[in-house]
Symmetry: C2
Subunit: 564 residues, 2 copies
């Protein structure tokens, strides 16, 4: 059997290695347009920041090492330029001399990846970069070393844009980040993204949200971007990271069935509309494991898993790719931001009766040194309590909880299942009630009607209502520091004695700092016949979202094991 | 409704707080023999080491704060001395004056905890301590401050023994640790515990395994322990941590049904044989969530969850406790050691057809700074691939993988499910194929017959066999550093060309450093008609277990994304 693989990075390289392990006698040819195979795509921004200093470290495999270990015919600088399905051949162009040749196959694995989108507003410029390949990265790095720019413009606030902005800032470069939407990190809901906005601004990054670039061009020694309805941005160079698009021209020309944004359509075995051609990685559309709908999930983990599934099937093992749920994590300066499954926005768009809870939980026991808080948002289906997704921003242990929640989402667990999870506890690592357990408890309380909750977005309207009272149950000292306009202050520990101060004819909208004490207050109020609701996330989250407040990392106002 | 709770620490305090939130009008009385409620039990060893410096920090709640917030009548230094079921009363003794009184209840929640076992070999001594309560801890701390001891004897190698040994060593005290069994940390299999043995010895702790203490008594200014068949141990003081036992004398006297080691028998609602009495925490037996068998699981997480379930049921919510799986984690100097579910030993004892795989995986992408290896053992049922448990020892991210595996065990996931998990990946946090994914792949390979594996314990017998050849596929440089006696060296990348050097009539037992390259070698050999087997964990693990080798933390010999 002869297998040709187009593309030698994540999905293609994995497929080649797995296939060799399954079939020692197959002839395996990897065609890679670039000069590198199986490289550390996700490490590229960190190379720019100097976190990864050694160019060789980015190259997980050289063509030679790959060939030696796996007996795979790796041809870098060999670009597949056509798939000839009738003849089962690929036309290949050598970069060296431009010469072309035909390579036959019994099975073809198509793993071309995605290309960085270069939007129409970008003019010709040697100072405007994208960041997709090792070559791209070295080009930016060379520019940084040779030209020593002081000001960078980053267009786009997704993973690559943010990681690059961070790494440039860490290198001492002044960064302006322009984002079309009202938030960075599209997998996050707006409110959770606001925590990242505050961090970016704290780090001196000039963050411009809701900003549409209309032209980006050379000007003098640098570049200039015009912003629709806003001030133009000048910089010494620009990096455009507005997303990627499946690079499927060959598949289109060969008449393979295409789907979303030109992505290749595959079945659960990663087989295309041509039974002899498989496709994997950023170039394909896959099932979203939560919604069941087709989606583009251009991430390294799924690409690797798909490559393995394709190899299995080529070798006669009927493995199935079960879909992606977009689990991801990003370091943003001191913060860790992670998500899995659906945001509230995405869940509602997909037709789920989605709600969410917000927690502000220490990563480990507060009596053990170094505890810091994370903000955790868990999205669930209110019809059955099933966990649909989650987002978290915090410090240590943030991505741990996200991986647990990712596993829960995949396994179809409910809120009560989260509450019952038996997770590892010792003071340096967690609390006896892990934040994931706590999320299950809070959702369970809401679903059982033990508490009603409202969100930061509801506060303005509530403040206007004659039949509503805002009750703040923080301590007087905390209340003096921050409270909602018009709120009355009765500390939770005094509430039982001071119920007479509240008007029973009005609905009481309660808040504390984080939402925990106000929940206790709500239970007291409800037991005494009041109609009441708890502000999810407390005044802390309200201030972050509505007022652009900073992130308060040190645990406080947490009342220990027994309170939750 | 009047509810009396006996015991005010983890389970009892949680029950009180939850019950108040569910029932504002109930009369709730907490009887606590000691002087503290809801304290940080798991933090006590760290107080001794000076990691936690402030006594107040150990006290999550004072009786007063608890009373204020939850309107609970907390009575410290009030000991329940009898449960009078007929009258539905508890007889209580005040420590203050020794006076007794009767307290009636509608529902009783019994959360007395467990007591530190004081074995018969321990004589009367003011220099022999146990560590269970805040009072115990302050007594040891006072001794350390006043007497400035230089040598400590710790009897027992479970959580408390190890954490205390570490903390005393960190305080500059020379520690001898005596353990009856051949390993510390009973939830671990012997081989994984060997990594901890090496660390303890590296840190200067005099570890004596398979050592039975026959007497522990005062001698001169210190203590002396006689060891059966071994040298006696002298020290300035001793800490005995040989486990805990349910402290259920009251329940026994009251005629409640008792089970394992005198633990209270409860149903899934945490109700005892008396429908008006619930019991929670270290004093009860619960279902092991993996085996379904009754077990003692004296851990903080389960106690908290049980307290909540009991409160729910008292308040009319029919919550169910679904059992414990013993997930736990411990810091041991720089190492993190975590486990969940069943060890191979425990799984086989419970009748499972259990096998395991061993991985040596970096916690995050090796090209990003700071990656360190963890040793991960995953236990599965070979009849259906279901994950039964796991153990890991490593650095950052170790307990993360254990929490994911704990969730997988709870959800009944199989090896293929692990392989398909969509976990969070970015270079600072993980690899595109997370160690948990990798474990799923390796188990899948074994179950599909793609590779056979043997363990470190099989090596001596194999070495004696005429029909076996030991093949080491490390590089010559690695081979020179460490190899099995009698092994021949053919680096994996040369194997295809040098197959003629191997005797086809013999079974080839292959090893590399960690088990990854030798798997690739096995696939090459199998495809060429050889009978072969892979040494699980490689020479590295063999040396740790069979030769007491140290722990090699820096990633090496890892071939990157595409190799797995």
């Amino acid at each position: 059997m002869k297998v040709v693989i187009i593309g030698g990075v994540a999905g293609g390289a994995t497929a080649a290695a797995r296939l060799r392990r399954l079939d020692e006698s197959a002839e395996i040819v990897v065609l890679e347009r670039g000069g590198y195979v199986s490289y550390a795509n996700c490490g590229l921004p960190y190379y720019l920041g100097g976190v990864i200093r050694d160019r060789a470290k980015l190259l997980l495999q050289t063509p030679e090492s790959f060939r030696r270990r796996f007996n795979v015919d790796v041809r870098v600088h060999n670009e597949a330029v056509a798939i000839l399905r009738e003849q089962k051949q690929v036309r290949v162009r050598r970069a060296e001399d431009g010469g072309e040749y035909l390579e036959s196959y019994d099975k073809l694995i198509y793993a071309p990846g995605a290309k960085a989108v270069r939007p129409p507003f970008v003019g010709q410029s040697a100072r405007v970069f994208t960041l997709r390949t090792v070559e791209d990265t070295f080009a930016v790095d060379d520019f940084l070393r040779e030209r020593r720019p002081r000001r960078a413009l980053v267009v786009g606030g997704g993973f690559i844009g943010l990681e690059t902005a961070e790494n440039l800032a860490e290198r001492g470069i002044s960064v302006t980040l322009v984002q079309l939407e009202d938030q960075v990190m599209p997998p996050f809901d707006y409110d959770m993204a606001c925590i990242l906005h505050a961090k970016l601004r704290e780090k001196g990054i000039d963050l411009r949200l809701r900003s549409r670039v209309t032209s980006l061009r050379d000007e003098g020694e640098g570049v200039c971007a015009d912003i629709e309805g806003g001030a133009a941005v000048s910089a010494d160079f620009a990096l455009v990271a507005v997303g990627v698009a499946p690079e499927t021209e060959l598949a289109a020309a060969a008449g393979l069935e295409l789907g979303l944004r030109g992505a290749v359509v595959v079945d659960e075995h990663m087989r295309t509309s041509d039974p002899d051609i498989y496709a994997v990685g950023d170039a394909v559309q896959v099932k979203n494991a939560v919604t069941g709908q087709q989606a583009l999930v251009p991430l390294a983990g799924p690409a690797n898993r798909q490559g393995r599934v394709a190899a299995d099937n080529v070798a006669g093992i009927a493995s199935v790719y079960r879909g992606a749920q977009g689990s991801s994590v990003m370091k943003l300066f001191e913060l860790t931001a992670a998500s899995t499954g659906l945001s509230v926005r995405a869940a509602r768009a997909a037709g789920f009766a989605a709600d969410s809870v917000l927690l502000f939980s220490p990563d480990h026991a507060t009596y053990y040194p170094g505890a810091k808080n994370m903000t955790l948002k868990v999205v669930y289906d209110r019809t059955d309590g099933r966990i649909l997704g989650a987002q978290a921003v915090g410090f240590g242990g943030t991505e741990k909880r996200m991986d647990v929640l990712a596993t829960a989402v995949r396994a179809g667990l409910t809120a009560d299942d989260l509450a019952a999870l038996d997770l590892c506890y010792a003071p340096p690592y967690s609390s006896a009630k892990d934040p994931v357990n706590m999320a299950g408890y809070v959702i369970g309380n809401v679903l059982r009607g033990l508490v009603r909750q409202h969100g930061w977005e509801d506060v303005p309207a509530i403040s206007q209502r004659e039949d509503a009272v805002l009750l703040d149950v923080q301590t007087p000292g905390e209340f003096a520091q921050a409270h909602l306009r018009g709120a009355v202050n009765i500390p939770v520990d005094e509430l039982r004695a001071r119920l007479g101060e509240l008007d029973r004819g009005k609905t009481v909208y309660v808040n504390c700092y984080s939402g925990l004490r106000s929940y206790i207050a709500c239970r007291i109020l409800a037991a005494n016949g009041f109609s009441c609701s708890n502000l999810a996330g407390g005044i802390r989250f309200y201030k972050v979202v509505a007022e652009g407040g900073g992130y308060d990392e040190a645990p406080r106002h947490l009342c220990g094991l027994a309170c939750e």
